[in-house]
Symmetry: C2
């Protein structure tokens, strides 16, 4: 875990005041920059020391064998792993003949600031070399949101007390040595040196390296162009080789003088385009960057972010840590998805190699819901990517003996890459989650354009999948047997409630979409009979319920399973200390599953159902997944446990800033970060758009005095300002209006006429539930009270 004071609480920055090499891997993730296409981990400019060097291009991967002790039909044999591509971030510094390395000499000051409005990582350092020469360094790094192929570094060195010869080496480095990524020697071998040199070339102050992967057949180019401003004579030369290129800048500074290196970096990759095309693409991007200039890039970056924050910002008064954390979270969610453009959004974004760089259901179920209401263009892109993989998903369904399309549990390019089917292929709910994201986009934007552009195809083919997965019983109820729901501690079950309801919604939504697009539906072979069969199955869906305990069952029979014995094993995460066998057969829940259903399908449950379900499942949910806390926050808020919700919001928000899961060094938890927004807006804001009807049920915990957020809704922005005992709804765009429900009451809000309503008083039906031993969330009220004044 990262100490609470590592990152001081500030509203718009994440700042590290002194360098802690013990958490370098974590801070590299926290300070990662990305635009969804290029990802730079927050490595020190000079490359080392490092936790893990990381430079990623979205969907640039290598294939690797997936081994099995006992093989089985339909097991994927080839996996996909994100590749650490050519590192363009590196700028090495020599002071006289001493390399700048924080482990040597004396580091008298070191600060890194991730500026959430500027979109930059700024580092300042003051360093005295082993022989006593003092320099000040200030570097500014950005990955451009506006120029998708471009990143840039400004590197400024000042000689402080005495003159010094300064040498800067601005580099491109391919095949950096990484810690072994697998115990399997074959896999490690594949990933040890994944790039094969294709071409290298340099000019006076720039260079290009072109590489390809060995197995996946992808080609990439990285280019750099360096500009130097220095007071006196400057020598600049560039050398290149297969796996590196280096522009060397040498100059002499008098005390107080500075040299400034500006490095433009560009990347391109393709599985189709030729080597010259890639090389020229990179050259073109560099030309554009040079034309814009570093200051121009900074300006564009801020303008882009200003617009984003204007739509997306969430203001949280009373809890400054959550305020900072939700902005940090939104910034990274934006970084992950902004310019993915036809590629997936990985579970870790482009912040680290965790989960092999794979995209999961997290994207559609956590990240896209946030972007739908804050940056919907990115959602359309992401869903077009899913739709573009429909061929592979159809193939996969065919292999599995199913109809329609079966999207992968984890993938980079679209092929199923899960090597453990009970927690992979069996988790078919990913298909309904994708369909839900398509529908959510339509409902929120009011646009049917995506449906024509692959969306309907996704809805139809997932509906067909569900029809082949489900079956009717003798009494006519519709069931889905043998699948795994969101809870990975309960696998391969019958009638997972979340999956059943999500499948039913998938079917219903697909039928409705076909009615909206009859010609397109016909072209996909959907006739009226098929649509009717979807509606009928959806209407007949089985919802497992324990009549004796009066509680919904996560799956059929769940409430009759033996309980987990926490006196025997309460070491978390449980999966590192107990076999799947025992986890699966007991009433122990890794992550919100039935509670996910309460959140997604609120109309399906009475208030008492919800209260009883939260009470029941809270006691059995260990939150060994970072996907859980945010959903538990939402359902806790819904049933009136506002303080508990606040505790969970804090947990979701700080998963990476505090490294709660001890693995943020491998990359940030995008779903949890996105969940912070969900928890605030859909938890405390009570925002829902079930059935296309926007509504809010705002309510605040004691520790939050004001919550203000906007959502984008049908070309307009709805601003919700919850403060004290009232809420103010405002339409911010001239001429816009919206019909919404405030706590169930219909309200029309027009631009220029804010509507104020009192908050409803919420009294929970049941007492605050307890959690499994050792899994009670940290009490936020204590945290707020106990925090020392700053």
């Amino acid at each position: 875990m990262i100490a609470q004071d590592t990152f001081p609480v500030e509203p718009w920055c994440v700042r590290e005041n002194r360098l802690d090499l013990g958490i370098l891997g974590n801070t590299e993730s926290v300070f990662a920059l990305s635009n969804g296409h290029i990802g730079f981990r927050g490595n020190l400019d000079e490359g080392e020391p490092h936790g893990l060097p990381g430079t990623y291009l979205n969907s640039f991967y290598e294939e690797r064998p997936l081994p099995y002790a006992e093989a089985g039909y339909g097991y994927p044999e080839v996996g996909q792993t994100v590749v650490n591509v050519t590192d363009g971030k590196i700028v090495r510094l020599f002071v006289d003949d001493e390399p700048f390395d924080v482990r040597y000499g004396t580091l008298t000051a070191h600060e890194r600031v991730l500026d959430l409005r500027a979109g930059t990582l700024v580092r300042t350092a003051e360093w005295t070399s082993p022989v006593g020469k003092r320099v000040r360094i200030r570097t500014t790094r950005l990955v451009s949101f506006v120029q998708r192929a471009v990143a840039a570094v400004e590197y400024v060195v000042e000689a402080v007390d005495a003159g010094a010869r300064i040498t800067l080496q601005s580099e491109l480095v391919a095949n950096e040595v990484l810690p072994e990524q697998s115990d399997d020697p074959r896999v490690a071998a594949v990933l040890r040196s994944p790039l094969v040199g294709v071409e290298h070339d340099s000019g006076r102050a720039g260079a290009t390296l072109v590489h390809r992967t060995r197995a996946s057949g992808l080609q990439m180019a990285a280019g750099m162009e360096n500009h130097v401003e220095a007071p006196g004579r400057v020598d600049v030369e560039t050398h290149d080789a297969e796996d590196w290129a280096r522009t060397t800048v040498v100059c002499a500074l008098a005390a107080g003088e500075r040299v400034r290196l500006t490095k433009f970096i560009a990347y391109g990759w393709s599985g189709l385009r030729s080597q010259p095309a890639l090389r020229d693409q990179v050259a073109g991007a560099l030309s554009g960057a040079r034309f814009t200039g570093f200051e121009g890039l900074l300006r564009e970056q801020r303008e882009y972010l200003d617009e984003f924050w204007d739509s997306a910002d969430v203001e949280v008064e009373g809890d400054a840590e959550v305020q900072q954390a939700v902005r940090f979270a939104l910034f990274h969610v934006l970084q992950a998805g902004a310019r993915a453009e036809g590629r997936g959004i990985p579970g870790k974004g482009l912040t680290g190699p965790g989960y092999d760089g794979h995209t999961f259901w997290d994207t559609e179920a956590y990240v896209l819901p946030v972007l739908t209401y804050t940056a919907p263009e990115a959602v359309a892109d992401a869903l077009r990517w899913r739709a573009s993989t429909i061929g592979l998903a159809r193939q996969r369904a065919g292999v599995l003996g199913l109809r329609g399309a079966a999207f992968p549990w984890r993938t980079i390019r679209g092929e199923e890459s899960s090597g453990y089917w009970p927690a992979g292929t069996a988790a078919f709910h990913v298909n309904a989650d994708i369909a839900a994201a398509v529908e959510r986009y339509r409902v929120a934007t009011g646009s049917e354009a995506l449906e024509g552009d692959g969306g309907l195809l996704v809805l139809v083919e997932t509906a067909r999948l569900w029809m082949s997965l489900g079956h009717h019983d003798a009494a006519g109820r519709w069931h889905v047997a043998g699948v795994t729901g969101p809870d990975e501690y309960t696998a391969v079950v019958n009638d997972n409630l979340f999956t059943n309801l999500a499948a039913a919604q998938n079917l219903r939504v697909a039928a409705q979409a076909c009615q909206r697009h009859p010609d397109l539906a016909r072209s996909l072979g959907v006739d009226l009979e098929e649509q009717a069969s979807w509606r009928d199955a959806a209407d007949a869906v089985h919802v497992p319920y324990d009549e004796d305990l009066r509680v919904h069952q996560q799956c059929e029979g769940f409430t009759r399973l033996p309980e987990w014995d926490f006196t025997v094993n309460a070491k978390y995460p449980l999966l590192l200390h107990s076999p799947y066998f025992d986890l699966y057969r007991r009433q122990v829940v890794k992550q919100a599953d039935l509670q996910m259903a309460l959140f997604w399908f609120p109309d399906r449950f009475s208030d008492e159902d919800k209260a009883r379900a939260v009470d029941y499942y809270e006691r059995r949910t260990v939150r060994d997944s970072s996907l859980s806390a945010a959903i538990q926050a939402i359902t806790a808020a819904e049933v009136g446990h506002l303080e508990l919700a606040h505790d969970y919001v804090y947990e979701a928000a700080t998963v990476d800033l505090r490294d709660l899961h001890h693995n943020s060094a491998d990359g940030l938890h995008m779903a949890s970060l996105a969940g912070t927004w969900l928890a605030l807006v859909q938890g405390f804001g009570g925002m829902r758009d079930t059935g296309g009807q926007l509504g809010f049920r705002p309510r605040l915990p004691h520790g939050i005095s004001r919550l203000r957020f906007s959502i984008r809704w049908r070309d307009a922005k709805v601003c919700v300002d919850v403060r004290g005992q009232e809420v103010t709804y405002t339409m911010r765009d001239h001429g816009s209006s919206v019909e919404l429900l405030h706590d169930g009451e219909a309200v029309t809000v027009r631009a220029g006429s804010p509507v104020v309503r009192p908050l409803a008083h919420v009294e929970p039906l049941l007492p605050r539930p307890v959690q499994p031993p050792g899994r009670e969330p940290a009490h936020r009220q204590h945290g707020l009270g106990a925090r020392p004044p700053r």
Copy 2:
């Protein structure tokens, strides 16, 4: 499949009239010789051509990595694989300067005969070399039942038409080149050359090679001694190297003259004893063999088998093929278990490397039941081996968070070696199967000695395992959640009926055994409270039943799962064409599971229950496992479908002689072979000893006119002769008597006073059930009728 006329139907032999190189791998398995300690595949004397060279020492294995695409807690990381050890069978022949190789020259006659009473493999060949020299060859091979470390070959060559120089090379060869055994290059590397030379030594006509494995730390020695009889001058010399030793015999034969080589071979291995000890052990065994002489070994072998057949033979009149097959089956079951002495009995015996040479539940559930009533000494040995692994089983239980002992699903030495837990570790019924074998031995032999010698420990520790696996529900019923029963197409389920009843019996039997051995029980920490808890759980066991369909459920909810769609996939075995995901969630059964429960726990079901269950599950059982047909034969016979039972008996009996599963080349299916006996004796004989009461309900199908068998029961032999419409019970040992049930009627049979009783007429309650498409067993009546006269 092997053609029906490959092995002519003879009562006491399996004969191959001409060499078919296309089925060489199969015939090597069929003609394998073993005594349970040494195993020789039926490779041609000259080593090649071969399907697969194979020489095995029971439990001599190498370790290999078990890889996982996604690792999990408790997954075994080291597997065990049987090793092809130093081959002592090889005798190469040169006629003048031409090597005898059946692929060259002209083979005018070739016959191999496995003599089930002699315990030998005799080969005769007449071969004309490429230059026209004709020789007759007759070789006799045996693996001694009496001298456990010894095998021998007699090799006789006769010059037929003209004189010839004859050279014989009698060899020991280590690290024979085998087909790659794994797609995983690491595993293949381990197994490619598993033996490391330790010592090699030779005299004039013999040699010894000592090797060790690289990882498992086992050491083995192989020795040979050659004796030659030839009419004139003979040169004999021996060379040795690390991986081979060769005694060369050269002589000149005139037309009609013969040379006779006798080769004694001895093996020893140990994980503990020293290299000199092993070397001397082998030398000692060779001395013993030489002292006995080849004729002496033949005589001992026949005497040993005479005694076995006297107890074990099953006579089947009317179906000569089944007659031959059941003797072939019994011979191989004996070979697998006779002298295992403190080692496991692998699923393939020592006939091939299939299933990595692992021992499964097959041993206790199929092989030991046969041996219990025919060769009970071998059963005590085999169960002592299980008991000797209790330490590893306790460790495994500990890793899994369970109490007691969890025996492995598959292993050589005792460690769990299953790399897929849903069809491995989760199949906890293996523990109840082992306990049942301990109890069966006690009941049949009347001896409590084994209980004191590890048996009670096994019963107690497995009972404790079940108590930690099971749980009581609110109504007090006892359940076992999340385990896999015998049917591997339905995994990780709640309340598998067979498992529940087997667990309950395990608990009950353990409690009874503790009452018999109170001091020993106390020393194991078992008090009266613990015994009471076992009985209580056993009495409260839940037996899933579908009230609507009035049929027992294979597991809770089984009858509500979707059906398999045979119009979509009826390609067998299904697991090669469909994912586990789909197999698990549907009502499709790989192998007898609920029917196994009907067989093992007959008192738990009414006649109508049984009839309905057979009807229900027959329709859904695809018999993709060779373990199924025999059990289906037994339950079919029980409910009166005698012709169906006959069909299944034939299928079980010919699994290897006809290669019904297309994999007999990897080794014989010991469980199915053993099942042939079970099906005849417990199916048509209706033999049961439920609750310690021996009983019979004989009934014959149309195609079998007489069935006669003996079983060993409490130091005596009970002979049952079913013929026409009556059965004769005879006690064969002077002064012996037994109380038995004939069709429920108490009968006392005394030596000298056979009891004759009429057969009961059996009218099935329901019509003959159908099987899944393409899985109806071959109709035996047609086979009998259509067989051409001989």
